[in-house]
């Protein structure tokens, strides 16, 4: 099994045109085996691009194709509206990889989802997406570096570190159930805890790798949840031990303010919850290989 997406996931690409990022990534996802069933573009309803039927709205696309997931990579100023459109059309799983959405838009869109569309889960924004190896890939992760079959579930705040983790595990012959990039923005739609809970409930996931970074308190909250509610082994790595305070390290969320949000505080919290904490990505991969071998 996998979490959030599987072989039955049907994806609509929001904002599709012959030159759009959405089409570029959507075709890569389709080549991986993902069911890309529709695209939307208010000016291109009724057209077909690369064999993908285009509808004017998400609601039309859902009605005609039964799409149950959407993929958003539109520019920042349109992204929040695109998220709400998908939710209003009843799409249960929305992946938004757009980077650079204003924090005010993000906070408003998130709270509208919670109140008005509780049936929709948003992944992102500013994330690499999600891959259930061999089943479905939505986003920008390269399918080549993932390995089907489990038993490891991966959840990460950082894109390239997610690839690094997939690569380290695949090279050692350790497969993944699902790899979720939750993104580095201040208001992520899906949190570490959401993923940990789903991995805990997924019988095929037998160990969890969690990759965090400086800023905020998401790792500390995850540590608390792991301590109380996760029975499966967790290996973790937190990036940014040497990051200076007060400077944004690329991700809008990756900033240390005051004494809060340091990598050390996060690692301490995770270790306190029984998590195996590694000090670099390679060590995390090795630790996970050990964990998996000991699963028997």
């Amino acid at each position: 099994m996998s979490i959030f997406v599987d072989e039955n996931t049907k994806v609509v690409i929001q904002g599709i045109s012959p030159t759009s990022q959405g089409l570029y990534h959507g075709l890569r996802n389709r080549a991986y085996g993902t069911h890309v069933v529709a695209g939307t573009n208010p000016r291109r309803g009724g057209e077909e691009i690369e064999g993908i039927p285009v509808f004017a709205t998400v609601a039309d696309a859902v009605e005609a194709t039964g799409a149950n997931a959407s993929f958003i990579s539109v520019p920042p100023k349109f992204a929040a509206d695109a998220i709400i459109e998908a939710a209003a059309a009843g799409v249960p799983f929305v992946v938004c990889i757009t980077e650079g959405i204003p924090a005010q838009d993000e906070a408003l869109a998130y709270n509208r989802l919670v109140r008005e569309f509780p049936g929709t889960r948003l992944l992102g924004p500013n994330c690499p997406g999600i891959i259930s190896p061999g089943k479905c890939n939505i986003g920008i992760t390269s399918g080549d570096i993932a390995m089907p079959g489990g038993p490891v579930g991966i959840v990460s705040r950082s894109g390239t570190l997610t690839y690094q983790a997939l690569h380290e595990l695949s090279q050692q012959g350790v497969g993944q159930t699902t790899c979720v990039g939750i993104g580095g923005d201040p208001v992520p739609g899906t949190s570490f805890i959401d993923c940990l809970r789903a991995f805990e409930a997924d019988p095929d996931t037998r160990a969890i790798m969690m990759i965090g970074e400086i800023g905020g308190s998401a790792e500390e909250e995850a540590a608390e949840f792991i301590g109380s509610s996760v029975t499966k082994p967790v290996v973790s790595y937190v990036a940014g031990v040497t990051a200076p305070a007060g400077r944004k390290m690329g991700h809008a969320g990756a900033i240390i303010s005051g004494s809060k949000g340091t990598a050390q505080a996060k690692m301490d919290a995770l270790a306190g919850a029984g998590v195996t904490v590694a000090h670099n990505p390679t060590a995390a991969g090795e630790a996970m290989v050990d964990v998996v071998r000991n699963l028997g």
Partner: protein, 382 residues
């Protein structure tokens, strides 16, 4: 982007938040003219983006033009913790009855806005938060609802502001919330927010951080951009569209992705070295981007070795390898380069590089090996 006090106050004023009558001055003569305009007594305040300017002699009260002349002359050019004062804010001095604190920011844990209000402003609010947390009235605001005047009134009561301040403070807080949301601030803070003996409430200081992601809908922010104090290296990098932060070490870093770049800094540190910078070249590791990145790092005299750490996802490693070679044809690099290229098409990438490797261009198979090598080449421990 952090604003100077004067910019923050001018930003507040756009949203109807009352501030003292005043203006900016870049010279002593301008300061005197501004003081005459604002009305004596005035406060002459150094404009620097660093705390503790009062203790450093950067804030002075002046009763007349002669005193303004003296203080402005002393403060302009003053070095406050490495920040040289180039601009002053001169405003009419307020009589202060009480000092409060008010701010809005994002509560990332709750994913809602967080207002903080205290009747004990004017001092280090962090200290109040630690020693007397009950003195700060917190208010979570759901962005869908916004902040109503009614909610603001209840909040002001809860914070126990003095009776004569309450009605004005509630109105001001609604304006501050509007400034924070519609004005796209990451932080909008007033410390102190004052009550004057004649019963007026207004902002005596302003700390505003704007959300750079929202710049596309704020053309008026352009006037702030030119005044940002930056590391020279960072200015060069910004001109080339690179995501760069200058640091103090000797190993230049180029990586793709913020997480991997941060992680590279950590690993260099674990190997006994120190990074000269953070540089995320993002997804497009082509020759142009690579050349620009190498140029920026090469211009930093502290750099002794350069570590290029690329993990190809969508970016194919063979293309990165070609980009590196092309960049090296265009730019003369004075430090040895260590490459760690992994991920999609890594084998093809390594083949392309094989004939070009030397003691100036080294390849290592893993991130850890590459970091060790770069640290050794920079003269740190191996």
């Amino acid at each position: 982007m952090d604003l100077f006090e004067y910019q923050g106050k001018q930003y507040f004023a756009r949203f109807g938040i009352p501030i003292s009558k005043g203006g900016v001055a870049d010279t002593v003569d301008q300061a005197v003219a501004q003081a005459d305009e604002s009305g004596y007594p005035v406060v002459v305040k150094a404009q620097v983006k660093v705390g503790g300017r009062g203790k450093a002699g950067g804030v002075k009260l002046a009763e007349n033009a002669e005193e303004v002349r003296t203080h402005a002359g002393n403060i302009l050019g003053l070095d406050i913790k490495g920040h040289v004062v180039k601009r002053l804010w001169v405003e009419h001095a307020s009589d202060i009855e009480r000092e409060y604190y008010a701010s809005f920011t994002l509560d990332r844990g709750a994913k809602k806005h967080l207002g903080m209000l205290s009747a004990e402003g004017g001092v280090e609010i962090e200290e109040v938060a630690v020693t007397n947390p009950d003195a700060i009235a917190l208010l979570q605001v759901d962005p869908v609802d916004g902040l109503s005047l009614e909610a603001a009134r209840a909040w002001v009561d809860r914070a126990n502001l003095d009776e004569p301040a309450r009605a004005q403070a509630a109105e001001l807080l609604v304006k501050l919330y509007t400034c924070y949301t519609e004005g796209d601030c990451d932080l909008a803070e007033i410390n102190p927010l004052i009550l004057t003996p004649d019963g007026r409430v207004h902002a005596l200081d302003a700390k505003v951080t704007l959300d750079d992601n929202a710049a596309f809908r704020h053309p008026e922010w352009e006037e702030f951009a030119g005044t940002e104090v930056e590391d020279e290296r960072e200015t060069r990098a910004k001109e080339r569209g690179l995501n760069y932060i200058g640091l103090q070490g000797s190993v230049g870093i180029i990586a793709n992705g913020a997480g991997l770049a941060m992680s590279t800094l950590d690993v260099v540190n674990q190997c006994g070295g120190a990074a000269a910078n953070f540089l995320d070249i993002g997804g497009g590791a082509n020759a142009d981007v690579m050349a620009a990145a190498l140029e920026v790092i090469n211009a930093d005299p502290a750099v002794r070795s350069i570590l290029v750490n690329i993990f190809g996802g969508i970016t194919r490693v063979d293309e990165v390898a070609k980009g590196v070679l092309e960049a090296l044809d265009r730019v003369e690099i004075s430090s040895p380069i260590v490459l760690r290229l992994d991920g999609t098409n890594a084998a093809a990438g390594r083949e392309i590089l094989a004939d070009h490797l030397s003691d100036r261009l080294v390849a290592e198979p893993t991130m850890l090996d590459a970091a060790r090598r770069a640290v050794a080449l920079a003269g740190g421990q191996s």
